[in-house]
């Protein structure tokens, strides 16, 4: 595959703060690649480095196979859609969209043609004569997108473009963005802190934390097989269930021990090489949809909260002093608040992490949902 953007061990610090720390990744032609992470994780700085608005302290950036690290933004063949202040308020919508073309001294008739084409795609035709400061927020974001689309950059960069539009428009625009991207086949590098948006929109996601890239993969890989405690905690809504404890081995069987509370982990031990984590603090995690009520389940608890989620019930089950697990069950299950239930978890979907390093032990070779 062709890499449109190559980021090679890029680092950037602002004063004492290391914003980006040795980040490397490739963005392939025609994909939507998302940088995902909480605020302050360095994702926007990484994007600005790719755009040429910041200089990296170390590392190189290649766009279309060309080293652009020392080139100014206007020579990089990229365009950036900002979160805010996306349009020039003193110009009409038409002038806004035409800006990049006029700068390039393209003949007025061609400008008109390009602008109306793009306006058509983004359904902005009826707004063209209006002042850009007077149209709604979601139209403004569309104008910003249109301004980038008319200049036909190799790579379209988007910095949380949907954060400020209202929830319903956001969902609609997310879908439209995806459709437009499919239609014109442009490479998109998207930055967001919204994990649902990333999962819905992306071909691939790079999760960032504290300036470092912690995992790159398809949305399914990221969701189903988080490689670190951070990713496991960050991805998923509702979040994963986590149980902390010490990993012990008694008579050949693995056990998670937390005070008097013990969970057998033999099924999980078949999938991971747990020997290295022996007698260390670990965190195990599983998603609510991978657990279930099961009379033969390994742990027992009492139901504390019942939420109705469509045709399912979300049960909050206290299994230990400070351990409350969330599992889903059908509305036909006979549970009330205070019911004693036993839980079992699909062992293929249990994740084990070293509590200190946050890392996952190596798999034993048996499939673990890795495609």
């Amino acid at each position: 595959m062709n890499a449109d953007v190559v980021v090679e061990s890029v680092s950037k610090r602002f004063g004492d703060v290391v914003a980006v720390d040795g980040v490397s990744f490739d963005v392939y032609r025609g994909e939507i690649f998302t940088l995902l992470g909480p605020s302050g994780c360095g994702k926007t700085t990484t994007l600005r480095i790719i755009a040429g608005l910041e200089r990296p302290d170390r590392g190189r950036v290649y766009i279309g196979g060309k080293d652009v690290t020392d080139l100014p933004p206007q020579k990089r063949d990229v365009c950036l859609v900002f979160q805010e202040y996306a349009v020039f308020p003193h110009m009409s919508v038409y002038e806004n969209i035409a800006f990049g073309l006029k700068i390039r001294r393209i003949s007025p008739s061609d400008v008109g043609k390009r602008v109306s084409e793009v306006a058509e795609v983004l359904e902005l035709t009826e707004h063209l004569e209006k002042r850009a400061g007077r149209v709604g927020l979601s139209e403004q974001q569309k104008i910003a997108l249109a301004r980038c689309m008319v200049v036909e950059p190799r790579v379209l960069l988007l910095d949380e473009p949907l954060t400020l539009v209202d929830a319903r428009t956001r969902e609609k625009m997310r879908r439209e963005l995806r459709e437009i991207q499919r239609k014109i086949g442009i490479t998109m590098l998207y930055v967001t802190h919204d994990q649902l948006e990333a999962l819905m929109l992306s071909d691939r996601i790079a999760v960032m934390s504290k300036g470092k890239l912690v995992q790159v993969g398809t949305p399914i890989e990221i969701y189903d097989n988080p490689q670190s405690l951070f990713v496991a905690q960050f991805i998923g809504s509702p979040t994963m269930n986590f149980i902390e404890g010490v990993l012990r081995k008694y008579g050949g069987s693995f056990i998670l021990e937390s005070g008097n509370f013990r969970i057998p982990l033999d099924d999980v031990a078949k999938l991971y090489n747990l020997e290295n984590l022996m007698d260390r603090e670990v965190v195990i995690g599983f998603r609510p949809e991978d657990g279930s009520i099961d009379a033969k389940g390994a742990v027992e608890g009492s139901v504390e909260v019942i939420e109705v989620v469509g045709d399912r019930l979300a049960l909050h089950v206290r299994v230990f002093r400070d351990v409350v697990l969330k599992v889903y069950t059908t509305i036909y299950d006979d549970v009330v608040i205070g019911s004693k239930v036993r839980l079992s978890v699909n062992p293929n979907k249990v994740h084990v992490f070293d509590k200190i390093s946050g890392r996952k032990p190596l798999p034993t070779g048996v499939g673990h949902g890795i495609p």
């Binding site: 608005l53 800006f99 990049g100 700068i103």
Partner: protein, 288 residues
């Protein structure tokens, strides 16, 4: 209800007093400009025999001399046309130059970190010194450089001392322009210089108007520098007015007439750019 009428009345009275306070000198000038010699030193407002002599004599120096005599070396030998034109040239050039340089300085100060917080403040320093302190050394320099009594000399000094105002006024306006607009323009292919001219400059136009008008007014009415640095060929309006002294003493009538002519120009300009002025003064408050 009654209370409201009282407060309203009070408001108008206060405004009226202030209006009167500021307009009295102007009214006095209007009155003087149409008075004949006999009435210059009397205290009533409305001239008994209104005359346009004062205006006519401004442009006929020989007749003026004949009527009021000569007093020392400050004799009026030129019609008032030349100083009017001089003032227009000097003020226009100063305004343009100060706003132009001020804009780019302010842009730099706003967008890039000036070395140390004191640098920009330093530009105010020239305005903190009383001009009388540095006008003497400047006159000596100018004399050596051959800049005395030239347009260039005046414009050079005027724009140097007024550029400070342009910087400070425009910096506020430029600060209010989100840097994202510039970055977006850059990513769409604009070079830094195009970004400044196509994005920043149009957005701060109200600021340019405010700074320009302010500097225009300051320069138009400046007396001290021009008095020291000019003599014949680059004499400005305020200096020329001060020269109307005859054997009979101060020639209040022609002075008032010329002051009146001189004040019409800024008033006309202010009126013409009124619309921009309002946006200028409210800029920064309307941004949501």
């Amino acid at each position: 209800m009654e209370f409201r009428i009282v407060t309203k009345a009070l408001k108008y009275i206060v405004i009226g007093v202030f209006a009167l306070w500021t307009l009295i000198p102007l009214a006095w000038i209007v009155s003087l400009a149409f008075k004949s010699y006999a009435e210059w030193r009397v205290s009533y407002f409305v001239p008994k025999n209104p005359t346009t002599d004062n205006f006519v004599l401004l442009f006929k120096p020989e007749e003026l001399l004949g009527r009021y005599g000569v007093m020392g070396a400050t004799a009026i030998i030129e019609p008032a046309t030349k100083p009017l034109i001089n003032s227009l040239i000097v003020t226009a050039a100063t305004t343009f130059l100060a706003v132009f340089i001020g804009f780019f300085t302010a842009y730099g100060a706003s967008r890039y970190r000036a070395p140390g917080p004191f640098t920009l403040f330093f530009t105010l320093l020239t305005r903190m010194l009383p001009p009388a302190i540095f006008i003497t050394p400047i006159m000596v320099y100018y004399s050596n450089l051959g800049l005395l009594d030239t347009y260039f000399g005046l414009v050079f000094l005027y724009s140097a001392v007024t550029v400070t105002y342009a910087i400070w006024i425009l910096k506020g306006f430029i600060d209010a322009v989100p840097v994202e607009w510039e970055e977006a323009a850059m990513l769409e292919g604009a070079t830094p210089i195009k970004v400044v001219f196509k994005v920043v400059l149009p957005l701060v136009r109200p600021g340019l108007v405010v700074a320009g008008l302010f500097i225009f007014l300051l320069t138009w009415s400046e007396l001290l520098f021009a008095l020291v640095l000019t003599n014949i060929s680059a004499v400005t309006l305020p200096v020329h007015i001060s020269k109307y002294v005859g054997a009979v003493g101060q020639l209040f009538g022609p002075q008032a007439a010329l002051a009146l002519i001189g004040s019409i120009i800024p008033v006309a300009i202010g009126y013409a750019i009124q619309k921009h002025l309002v946006t200028g003064f409210t800029f920064g408050m309307v941004r949501g």
